[in-house]
């Protein structure tokens, strides 16, 4: 049975979406049979719909990355949040210990290897491995930054803080601990929402305990590396040096503050 209300544009759209009940669909078909130009347009819309669906179907077939594991997310919410005051207290203890260790090492460490040139290479290598990683670039995400700060501070025997680059358009993603030939280093990662990521690597320095900021570039990855008070920092990323330089200055300013 067909109904004979006038055909509307909404009917035609719903016909493309197969959202009409049978009677109304039959009425639309009758109408299209009598109006080839409209039929042509509607056929085009149906083809669009089919092409969009088949173009995008493979995305829904991809295996889910671990970050999108809902069970793990629910589990994570059940774990108690790391109490900030405990992290702060731990940082105070580490600050004291770090100072003492630094003092002992000051006169006995042999310079040469492990200076800021080495740190710059380590940052570039870390960028190449983690900065390009689409699955798990960071081990602890920014929402667990207390835990991350505590972890890195503890392993480096040095209290660290996460510089905020959001005013420059870079969002803090999270970080991890990485291995270098000169011991553990803390890695922090940022991204600008356009897929450009920056990596900041930091570790205690035995050589070049104080070094002015120096610029380096290799394979399109620019970087700025410096050291202050026995702790070295390197900010690297696939950005032009003149873009990266103010960011490195901003990081240094925040660390000094």
């Amino acid at each position: 049975m067909t109904d004979d209300r006038p055909i509307t544009e909404d009917d035609l759209q719903a016909y493309v979406d197969r959202a009409l009940e049978a009677g109304r669909a039959a009425a639309v078909e009758d109408y299209l049979a009598a109006h080839p130009d409209v039929a042509n347009r509607i056929r085009g819309y149906a083809e669009q719909r089919g092409a969009l669906r088949s173009a995008l179907a493979p995305v829904a077939e991809e295996p889910l990355p671990p970050e999108l594991n809902i069970a793990r997310m629910i589990e994570a919410r059940r774990r108690p949040v790391f109490a900030t005051w405990r992290a702060a207290a731990a940082a105070v203890v580490l600050l004291t210990m770090g100072g003492a260790v630094g003092w002992v090492l000051r006169d006995e460490s042999a310079p040469a290897a492990g200076g800021i040139a080495a740190l710059a290479r380590e940052a570039e290598n870390s960028y190449a491995v983690y900065g390009q990683d689409r699955v798990r670039p960071v081990e602890l995400r920014s929402d667990a930054s207390d835990e991350l700060v505590h972890w890195i501070s503890q392993r480096l025997d040095h209290p660290i803080a996460v510089p905020d680059l959001s005013s420059s358009g870079y969002r803090f993603m999270g970080g991890r601990l990485v291995a270098t030939p000169h011991g553990p280093a803390g890695l922090l990662m940022y991204d600008d929402d356009h897929g450009t990521r920056l990596v900041m690597l930091m570790r205690p320095m035995e050589a070049d305990r104080d070094a002015p900021m120096s610029q380096h570039i290799a394979d399109g990855i620019a970087g700025f590396t410096w050291a202050e008070n026995g702790f070295g920092y390197s900010l690297v990323g696939p950005a032009a040096p003149d873009v990266l330089h103010p960011l490195a200055d901003e990081v240094r300013r925040q660390i000094r503050a």
Binding site: Q48, R134, H194
Partner: protein, 174 residues
Amino acid sequence: MNDIAILIGPLIPPLRRYARALLRDRAAADDLVQDCLERAVSRWHQRRIDDNTRSWLFAILHNLAINRLRSAARRRPHAAIEDAEDAALVRPPCQEDVLQVQDVLRALERLSEEHRSVLLLVSVEDLSYAETAAVLGVPVGTVMSRLARAREKLSAALDDRSTPLKEPHLRRVK
């Protein structure tokens, strides 16, 4: 809490597909879906009993996507998602339909975000017009008129496919 996983789990692949089609960047889209899921888990108990889980999730994701697209547009007016590589979105070339698949996605990019989202929700995600209206926060009548306009524009963009796309804007240093 298990009911959350059971209800949300099957919706994750469609959410990824919608985010990817809007942002055209795999990592950014997955980040967005992750944000969406985290919000969904933390707000699960604020959901009304009669809320449709699917449109509720799509609405959370849609709002996150729109915020991201708009703040990206504000910050860097010309460097937008069209820079994302097609490889992030399209399956490897293997069949004769590849040209058409590329064409329709490129044509889709030329549409405004309003038109893209209505087309994707209705044509690809199979949301009803009422569900789409709920996700977009507009009346059903607006969904219908946007949908008609979006299809018209997509047709025009497909007819016009010989014209080159906008120039790539990001300077690639890599």
